[in-house]
Homo-oligomer: 418 residues x 2
């Protein structure tokens, strides 16, 4: 059978190692006899719909290798969700047109839960339409909420960033607490699952050390018990470090961040759970505070990525191509944990139909009794994922990253309106 072309697209929020996955896909595609040319969708699936296909074959191998230390999405990503083909087939038909026009037989979609669902739908649709395209989903999400896989590429690096930053900032506030700041609050990502906030717990070396309080979306926020705990910690340690998930919420599901703050024009103020928690402590306990919101810094901090995460991100990309070359379809490569101590893992697979619409939250046994910390079994799970420092090369004092040409291949179709 003649080799076909392939297309790879990045989807959703990017990570510090999603380009390592791209590197795995590109390098494996170059080796595969089943794949001729590999395109990348410019800005994700939107680029495929627009027939904006980046020709990766003209990029030098040395530049592709630099993707291993380039954060962000090298080809662009998007938050566009395809319409359900049961409701509207317009986008799916367009995809087939593009696939046909460019002789594409393989589709690699690198994203979270929604993207896996989309990959599955494309596999089914193209098969039913008589132009079957091999669709492989590739896991990626800092939220770590995909099922079946031991963890999600992208997560371990943010976990390492958070654990280290928490330890560093805690040493700072500890040294200032005698006469100045007593409270430090770090806000981290995680709208629905507390995996990232939980990872701050890896900075804790003893019962008394920071972080003293972790606020997870899985545990309803109780103002009274929270303030009591802050008071206790400050009394004992003279300072208190709090790591709060952006998704921390009250029992009724209302986010702490959405607490009705208005600006001077009466506009509702958006975001920032850390300043909310700071205000609460200030108004109720009168303690001096500092707060940080790491936002994009945490998920783009390639300078402190986990080596395990980087290796796994590359491995799932490579495996996706190898599975496709072996004739697999509608699956997602997963990371299988063989052992925790010492950590060993390999690559398995799961059917995309099983992945869709399952969100893996923190299990109860990972959350400490008082709800403000993590258990030893949670530590045992998380610890291997932040191992190894994947130092990046620096140039002129800042991180050195890839500069791809990102040249679009010639269009063959009419314009499409998304």
């Amino acid at each position: 059978m003649k080799a076909k072309n392939a297309v790879y697209a990045q989807s959703g929020g990017v990570t510090s190692v999603i380009n390592a996955t791209a590197c795995g896909v590109i390098e494996a595609s170059r080796k595969s006899k089943k794949i001729d040319k590999l395109f990348a969708g410019k800005d994700g699936i939107v680029g495929i719909l627009n027939e904006d296909l980046i020709d990766t074959s003209i990029e030098k191998s040395s530049e592709i290798k630099k993707l291993m230390h380039t954060p962000g999405g090298a080809f662009g990503s998007c938050r566009h969700k395809l319409k359900d083909p049961k409701k509207s087939q317009k986008e799916f038909k367009r995809l087939i047109e593009v696939f046909q026009a460019h002789d594409i037989g393989y589709f690699f979609y690198n994203g979270g839960g929604d993207s896996q669902d989309t990959s599955n739908k494309i596999a089914q649709y193209t098969k039913e339409a008589g132009f079957p395209v091999t669709c492989i989903g590739i896991p990626k999400t800092i939220d770590n909420d995909l099922p079946f896989t031991d963890n999600c590429p992208g997560f371990g690096s943010v976990a390492k960033y958070i654990a280290t930053s928490t330890k560093e900032a805690a040493l700072d506030v500890k040294s200032m607490s005698k006469s100045s700041t007593k409270i430090f609050i770090l806000e981290v990502m995680g709208r629905h699952a507390g995996w990232l906030a939980a990872s701050a717990g890896l900075a804790k070396s003893s019962n008394n050390s920071a972080p003293h309080i972790i606020l997870l979306p899985e545990v309803p926020f109780n103002e009274k018990s929270f303030l009591k705990k802050v008071k206790e910690v400050v009394k004992k340690e003279d300072y208190c470090v709090i790591v709060v998930s952006e998704g921390a919420q009250y029992k009724n599901g209302k986010f702490l961040a959405d607490a009705g703050t208005v600006d001077s024009f009466g506009h509702k103020q958006l975001g920032g759970v850390a300043p909310r928690v700071a205000e609460l402590i200030s108004s109720k306990l009168g303690l001096k505070y500092h707060w940080a919101v790491s936002d994009y810094l945490q998920r783009s901090a390639r300078h402190i990525s986990s080596q395990v995460d980087l290796d796994q991100a590359y491995a799932v990309g490579k495996a996706a191509v190898e599975f496709a070359s072996k004739g697999e379809n509608a699956i997602m490569p997963i990371i299988v944990r063989r052992k925790s101590k010492p950590y060993s893992w390999d690559i398995g697979k799961v059917e995309l139909s099983k992945v869709a619409n399952i969100e893996k939250k923190m299990p109860q046994k990972f959350i400490s009794k008082d709800g403000f910390g993590i258990t030893q079994s949670c530590k045992n799970y998380l610890l291997p994922l932040i191992q190894g420092e994947a130092w990046a090369p620096f140039k002129d004092g800042v991180i050195d990253t890839a500069s791809l040409k990102n040249k679009l291949t010639k269009k063959k179709l009419k314009r499409f309106k998304i």
Copy 2:
């Protein structure tokens, strides 16, 4: 002359390399024939007043060496400013009591402008009181606002953190801009001088690359021209990265951060210039944004310290002891730039009386014509300071830091009420 004891204290906001200075002071003291025992003030000068003197002589050399990669202040710091002896001599008299009780002949004070002034006053006062103590100020401040010295230990590491974080986050937002976030705002420290915000400019590799806008305290904020610039950048690049100094202010001196936001109870909301700028862009231009406030993370991020900064932080500590051993008094070691390309420097000195109460702001020639960026001459100044990656050792996936005993020496005096 019999060797005397010495005392070292950390003052003001701590940095990721202030403990490297402590390491320099301790190692040089252990070598000096003029110095017997070195104490450290617990929580800075407050500890000296309280006679809380940490005996550094019982710490192992290997643990002292670990101070080179331990952020925060290992002995504690404080924001306590001594009263002017012309107004109240109580604290100065107490210092002499403590110095006498513990046979202290040398005082090393590691801090910013205020601390240098304090060191100078102590030198004068002890001399006039007939118990002369050698006082050496040691420069430290991430604000980089001390005069005479080429730069201030602590600054280069934050500059490196900001430049790298800006580059990383810019790659993130660039990949999301097609269908999601178009604006990213990073708030950095710097209440009066824009050195830290300016350092983000080192991430800029071409005219069009991020950061696109830097808001400095030195340039009065003009809403109209700012919004015009944001619009232009987004039109051309599809995204815009803004780095804002916490001290950014209007022409009348009012801080942007202090823009009258109230919470749902009508309390005035404190801090956060990044969310203010975000709201402005959202309400006036309707663009989707993300913002980050790095706060303590930036100044404690030892995992990405500049090697040049680390070397200089150590060098000023070592030099302080060596100057004192040679009979110098009431001076501060400074960093002298010999050449920018390639960067070469050595240690000089300046009289403390000259340092006091001078704040070094960004010179006009370092600020671009439109006020939103830095010039080549600013880059030439800043670039050497972020060179070299002073990687720290990691243990179990997080940065490994020193664990000092911090044992207090036996008190000989009555309690003092500060």
